[in-house]
Symmetry: C2
Subunit: 342 residues, 2 copies
């Protein structure tokens, strides 16, 4: 199937600003069954959308943080908030999800302009949207260059493994890890993409599969436990994932289930490549040990579409992320550079 750019790409954005004071998002909790746009008019609605993963993915959360400040300023004006109330709303937004450094980054980028008036705040927020598009394309092309160089002479195309969704749906358009896949596909270099389904919320099965389907890129969904065995069987040329936060030493926090892929990639000598914008690099966090891992509700593990998968009363632990140590990371590709922590 040819890329359907009416569905995702140049025309439709994962998150965007609709003047004078609305954020429009694709509701990702309803994909792949339904493509629904949702308008958010208050900071409270935005925080709720972030918590429920209607908007998700590190870069998109950065944009959401920036646009959220503009939303807060508009809401403050409309509701007659004082500065304290506005500051509290922005602080609540900044902490809507603990692990995503991009959210904090996006909020801070725009909040720095608060003294310069509503128009400047809005301009700063909108500029983040375009900057994200430019960033994704730049890092995707750089990542495609790197993989072409690391893995020459694959006439039937590369076999890649990705996890979760670091695609257009995690950004404004194009994507990070999946942006690399898109850029490689444009060059005719993708043979197959293994997609980890990404329990508990199935961002791989629901979102990444949806994007690949629309781009006409061959893919196979696998359960998360299968990735390392598939790598061991020699079926994967490289692992390409996004990141939610990268510590100063190169340790990478990403969706839970990433670390096992890195362990397997290292053991079997294939590249483990992280594609993420510079904003994901957190120099204030020395190592992965200092990264606060979000613990999500047990119900995401023990329930499925309203049905219980475990005995009544079963407990569950639900960390949203894991940390891949720097020595297992072949390269971190950003819009500016290739870092090789390993």
């Amino acid at each position: 199937m040819p890329p359907d750019r009416r569905v995702l790409g140049a025309r439709l954005r994962t998150i965007d600003w609709q003047p004078p004071s609305t954020i429009v998002i694709i509701d990702q909790a309803r994909l792949p069954g339904e493509l629904a746009l949702v308008e958010l008019r208050t900071v409270g609605e935005l925080i709720e959308a972030i918590r429920r993963l209607r908007v998700r993915g590190a870069p998109a959360l950065g944009v959401a943080g920036g646009l959220g400040v503009a939303l807060a300023v508009a809401e403050a004006e409309r509701e007659g908030w004082d500065d304290d109330r506005l500051a509290r709303a922005i602080s609540d937004l900044r902490h809507a999800r603990p692990t995503a450094v991009n959210l904090v980054w996006g909020v801070d980028q725009v909040a720095g302009h608060l003294d310069e008036g509503r128009d400047t705040v809005e301009e700063a927020a909108i500029s983040l949207v375009q900057r994200d598009v430019d960033t994704c394309v730049a890092l995707a092309e750089r990542g495609a260059d790197l993989l072409s160089e690391l893995l020459p002479g694959r006439p039937r195309g590369l076999s890649l493994h990705t996890h979760c969704n670091a695609g257009a749906l995690a950004c404004v358009e194009w994507g990070t890890a999946l942006g690399v896949v898109r850029s490689l596909h444009r060059r005719g270099m993708v043979g197959n993409v293994f997609v980890g389904e990404t329990r508990p919320l199935l961002q791989g099965a629901r979102l990444t599969a949806w994007e690949l389907h629309h781009e006409g890129i061959p893919y196979e969904v696998v359960v998360d436990g299968a990735g390392p065995g598939i790598i061991a069987a020699g079926m994967v040329d490289a692992v390409v994932v996004g990141a939610d936060r990268i510590a100063a030493n190169g340790d990478v926090a990403n969706k839970v289930g990433t670390y096992p892929l890195a362990l397997a990639a290292a053991r079997h000598g294939i590249p483990f490549v992280v594609a993420a914008p510079e904003s994901t690099l957190d120099d204030g966090t020395p190592t992965g040990d200092a990264i606060d891992i979000e613990q999500r509700p047990p119900d995401e593990v023990v329930m499925w579409s309203g049905a219980r998968t475990t005995p009544v009363g079963a407990g569950a632990r639900n960390p949203a992320f894991d940390v891949t140590p720097a020595d297992l990371v072949t390269a971190i590709v950003t819009e500016l550079r290739v870092v090789r922590p390993g």
Copy 2:
């Protein structure tokens, strides 16, 4: 909650022979919602039950293979089959699932008595049932001894990680990996058990959680991708799993998702212990590379309780097992010995 031995243990068996010619199983596809006993009266019904995982787990499949030969002999007598028809039925049973060496083993144990008449065949089959119970208890005690020795001085009890179901429900009673957990629990030595949910069929979430719940052993279900991160966070003292087939060099085929736990255990220096009966050791298979990995239907991955989790038309790959190389295995515990391949 105290162990409920009326529900599982001394009184109720996962699989048993009901004279003159019926196999009775707990239908594991209906757990944990419903505890249903099913009577199987033909080899065809037994093969169907094996393929649909109503009876599953390497040791239980060994017993199923043995009882299946007795069932075939009774069916042959009832239906007037000739020797060829009987041989074909036994061969079909032998190949009902490709990776489970125990099934073949169980069939062959009893088929060796075919020339000695129906009573002898039935006796041989029934003896496999009791032998499995004795085997499980012996290897469970040996495994508990080993872990006590490897991990001394844990006043709050051991924190263990298991995957899939190598419990009473995988055997006749008691279990292998979960038998070790049971034996440790009897000694007051279990602090917590992490249970990988085990996608796609959730044997961990459905079956292992059900068993631990009934034994009153504290546990937490986790998604399969979370195991390695939980090990990295220092929350696990040892990984204990079963096996479907162990090659002569000590490579271990077990439920898909086992290998990532072994990789993490090795990296973080905790024991990775395989608890399995001698019948799982396959000297005819030199290494894991020679193990035929069953590929199951893609629908198990892309559908969930009748609902699709992926876009329509999504492909999936669904290997049922992975292979953990011998160098990552701290110990293989059987009813007779402790082997240390690593």
